[in-house]
Symmetry: C2
Subunit: 332 residues, 2 copies
């Protein structure tokens, strides 16, 4: 059997565009590879596909374990496919932070959706840092767009730093909440609610119906006070397991798209995201190289400890380490 | 007249510790200098002072122009001095972002406070980037501590990115609000309320008394929902111009200090701040060097434009620029 990703990038690009699902999977495996020759092919592949990207609705979705995220994505994906769309689901979660649900495998979590011809589900790549996963997901999103998927869902767990990365790559960031009082009780990290363009209280059914209604009212009130820009962050409720309210979520996403396309905000957000992506690539690579430098590796732990214990000023420690890396300053 | 900062660092450190105000001002001028030989002296000075730092209450204070920040700081500073403390006021605002109030000069804004023997007011250094200002302010804070100031106020305007920098260098970050409805109306940027450990609605007097009460209730409700950790962010009101409620602000700061000293949170926050400061120094220096590289300077604008217009993938552009800087990749 030949190397599954040892393919002419132009030929692969054409197969992706023609809707060949094996080519799509192979293209994503190619951009996930860390081999230098693969990276050159990946660049060529992405350059060939780039003119055919950008037409999808890019959605981020986050929520703590237990909020019913897989159930929601399945109900939402099936609803949207029923309206004639093609849905791709990508995951952003560094392997070290993965929770029970994800370990079972993304496809196991969404049995009905994974059987759909117009759905494509791609688990998070294993063994990568957040920066690496975010880059691959951004590139995978472009490949899915070139393959004709017009709704892309990027999912993440609402407990860490990956939410910012996801909000920085989508047109609309959606946060799923439990019917319960307050961020802390729900296990949502500080600052994540503020990233949301849309808040959805799930499990609004049965005994939790009244609690869900209170949660909606509370968050509506809080977000009205903290809101910014033309878009008033809506707080909706739904019951993904009973497929109630999912249509309203999709309608609200449509309203957001209409508004932000009309006022130019979507294009500005995407241009800003591209610029931020460029700089995050640059920063991360520089830091990786810095950390990998032999003299830095030898001294970093000691100086980091000295700094946190207040024995050395951070500026002094930084100058010493940078001197080793850049070759022009004295040791501490 | 000799170079005012051409001084033996050890002698300068001793004069600072002895309470010599001219030595204090000279020490801060030294750490603000960008000359390489000054930087070496500054490092020696800071190393000598470091064992005598850390005992102050480090407070950040932010609020949009018009909220009455100078009036508040003056009333607050005089109150705290009246209780026997020594107060230093430092500013963090890159010169490019300075507003009318600051241009008049910080001392002009706080006439009574600036006359106090136990007050020290230092305007923001001119012509520096946010990273530069933040570094100098952190270092100035240490110098003020070594000089015996036990309450340090770091002020910033609540409209930009400097709030995060300030929240990252203090024990408690205080946000002043106007009696008015919502962040957007007040001109507060997204995410700044969430940085606050304490919210104070100023101008709670005269015709605005009732509005202030509503604003307190609204923010109390919103912050209760979004709160995290052991500390429930208090929302107080005051009238700085009438010196009403300033004592309660100080009492609340004392309660915060007691709690966070007892549960270890203050020490953890300071250790984490020192580590973050180290990494921000490293990141900023690496990016500065990258930007200053001749080949990067020649190509950066073109590639940044191509990236924001969607003509080149950010990863590809980053690799091309990094290759020029690090010497190992092909041009785009």
């Amino acid at each position: 059997m030949p190397d599954p990703i040892d393919t002419n990038p132009q030929a692969l690009a054409e197969a992706v565009r023609a809707g060949d699902r094996r080519a799509l999977a192979r293209a994503i495996t190619l951009i996930e590879s860390t081999r230098a020759d693969h990276r050159a092919s990946a660049d060529a592949l992405l350059a060939a596909l780039l003119p055919h990207t950008g037409q999808s609705v890019r959605l981020g979705i986050s929520g703590v374990p237990g909020v019913g995220k897989s159930t929601f994505i399945e109900a939402f994906g099936l609803h949207v496919i029923g309206l004639g769309h093609k849905v791709a689901v990508l995951a952003v979660d560094p392997s070290s932070q993965r929770t029970g649900g994800s370990i079972l495998g993304d496809k196991t979590r969404m049995v009905d959706l994974s059987r759909e011809a117009n759905a494509f589900i791609r688990p998070s790549p294993a063994g990568a840092t957040l920066g690496g996963v975010a880059r691959r997901t951004r590139e995978a999103m472009l490949i899915c767009e070139a393959a004709g998927f017009d709704v892309i869902l990027v999912e993440t767990v609402g407990v860490g730093q990956s939410e910012t990365a996801v909000a920085d790559m989508v047109d609309l960031f959606m946060l799923l909440l439990l019917p319960a009082g307050g961020d802390e009780l729900q296990g949502i990290k500080k600052g994540i609610v503020e990233l949301a363009d849309l808040v959805v209280v799930n499990k609004a059914d049965g005994d939790l119906t009244a609690t869900a209604r209170h949660t909606v009212a509370d968050y509506r009130h809080a977000l009205m006070l903290l809101r910014h820009g033309d878009w008033r962050v809506p707080v909706l409720s739904c019951s993904a397991v009973h497929k109630i309210g999912v249509d309203e979520v999709w309608a609200t996403i449509g309203a957001h798209r209409e508004l932000t396309e009309a006022n130019g905000q979507r294009d500005r957000r995407r241009a800003e995201q591209a610029r931020a992506w460029l700089w995050s690539e640059i920063r991360e690579t520089l830091i990786d190289r810095f950390r990998a430098h032999p003299a830095v590796r030898a001294d970093l732990a000691r100086l980091e400890d000295a700094v946190t214990q207040g024995a050395v000023i951070p500026t002094t420690a930084a100058r010493a380490l940078l001197g080793q890396f850049l070759g022009d300053a004295p040791p501490v």
